[in-house]
């Protein structure tokens, strides 16, 4: 069996690729779990507004909502580019 594997070339087994991909996607899904339905839209619209002023990538924005019993915090993280790359100077 070993020899056979060797002759076929040491290809990574497809099941372990599947596992790695799933671990990433599931972690991402769980990060969004329980958030209000409007969050994806809010994220898109905020991004659109920011892009009117600054040139940022699609994935440069990250928003999350944390709530405990009596208070919710909307956290917005935007990675800004170096100076001089703004749309309107």
């Amino acid at each position: 069996m070993r020899l056979l594997d060797f002759l076929k070339g040491e290809r990574k087994k497809s099941a372990s690729v599947a596992k790695e991909r799933l671990q990433i996607i599931v972690a991402h899904q769980r990060g969004h779990r329980g958030q209000p339905d409007y969050m994806p839209m809010l994220e898109q619209e905020l991004l659109a507004v920011i892009r009117r002023y600054v040139k940022v990538d699609q994935d440069a924005i990250n928003i999350s909502l944390d709530s405990d019993n009596d208070c919710s915090v909307l956290e917005l993280n935007v990675t800004l580019p170096n100076e001089g790359e703004t749309v309107k100077g």
């Binding site: 087994k13 099941a15 991909r21």
Partner: protein, 273 residues
């Protein structure tokens, strides 16, 4: 008070209806008064798997809309007097179901039965949400395949946020993982996710492992839930699953390649009967 168990998955074609039929039948064979409800309005299938398609007169939508009583719509299983089937409508669409209507039906059934099994439609939209909303427990049917595992995780999200137990801040729905269509040969070859990987990713308790089996197609051809085929691997795996749902601790089988002896092969015993 009945225990309400939803059989759900997100993805279609993974074995929800096969599992709902087998589990409901198994619970009834073990002496529990059981009813299994088809929530797949517009695309009913459970009646075929249960072998009662020619006895369907009224359905879940008729009951909810007051056109028939529960007693008229429920079909008594031919093989087990403890088991009843409530079929889905073939002609209406899923908007014919209302939350209040479903609640009323489940409340009425609760008085008479020990277990109510809800066979969910695919997807994460309204139909699937109605099927899981009132559940006490959930059987999350998952195939060893990327899209099925991802969708199961989406369903876990719904179970923990869009159910009555979640909205009323009650004890959460008890989630069970049921891995089906498992092929130990392909797992050994490294081309199929193995059971431990799936458990690690979804992180919920395992209730059963059903191998990919020729017995399942044979059972659906005949309209006899596969759990009745107690010589088959899938039939036995579902029987184990039912025992675990009833709280028994039974060892896991069918996880590795079955080495069939010469005698078994000659007489065609085991899974290939």
């Amino acid at each position: 008070m009945a225990k309400i168990i939803v059989v759900t998955s997100g993805k279609g074609g993974v074995g929800k209806t096969t599992s709902a039929a087998a589990i409901a039948t198994g619970l009834a064979l073990r002496g529990n008064k059981t009813v299994v409800i088809d929530f797949d309005v517009g695309l009913r299938n459970l009646d075929l798997i249960m072998g009662c398609e020619r006895r369907v007169v009224y359905d879940l939508v008729n009951v909810i809309q007051g056109e028939a009583g529960l007693k008229q719509a429920m079909i008594r299983d031919k093989r087990s007097e403890n088991l009843h089937i409530l079929p889905a409508s073939q002609t209406r669409d899923k908007d014919a179901l209302t939350l209040e209507g479903v609640e009323k039906v489940l409340m009425d059934l609760s008085e008479e039965f020990d277990y109510i099994i809800c066979d969910s439609p695919a997807g994460i939209e309204r139909g699937a949400q109605l099927a899981l909303y009132f559940a006490d427990e959930a059987v999350v049917v998952t195939n060893p395949e990327v899209s099925s595992v991802r969708d199961s995780d989406r369903i876990l999200g719904l179970l923990s946020s869009k159910s009555r137990r979640a909205e009323q801040n009650r004890e959460p729905i008890k989630e069970h993982l049921l891995v089906t269509r498992y092929n130990p040969n392909r797992v050994d070859d490294g081309d199929m996710l193995n059971l431990d990987d799936i458990r690690e990713i979804l992180a919920i308790d395992l209730v059963g492992l059903i191998p990919e089996s020729e017995a399942v197609l044979r059972a659906s051809n005949q309209g006899v839930p596969v759990i009745h085929d107690d010589k088959s691997d899938a039939g036995q795996a579902y029987a184990d699953t039912v025992s675990r749902l009833m709280g028994e601790d039974v060892p896991l089988r069918f996880q590795s390649v079955q080495k069939r002896g010469l005698i078994a092969r000659m007489f065609g015993g085991g899974g290939r009967r």
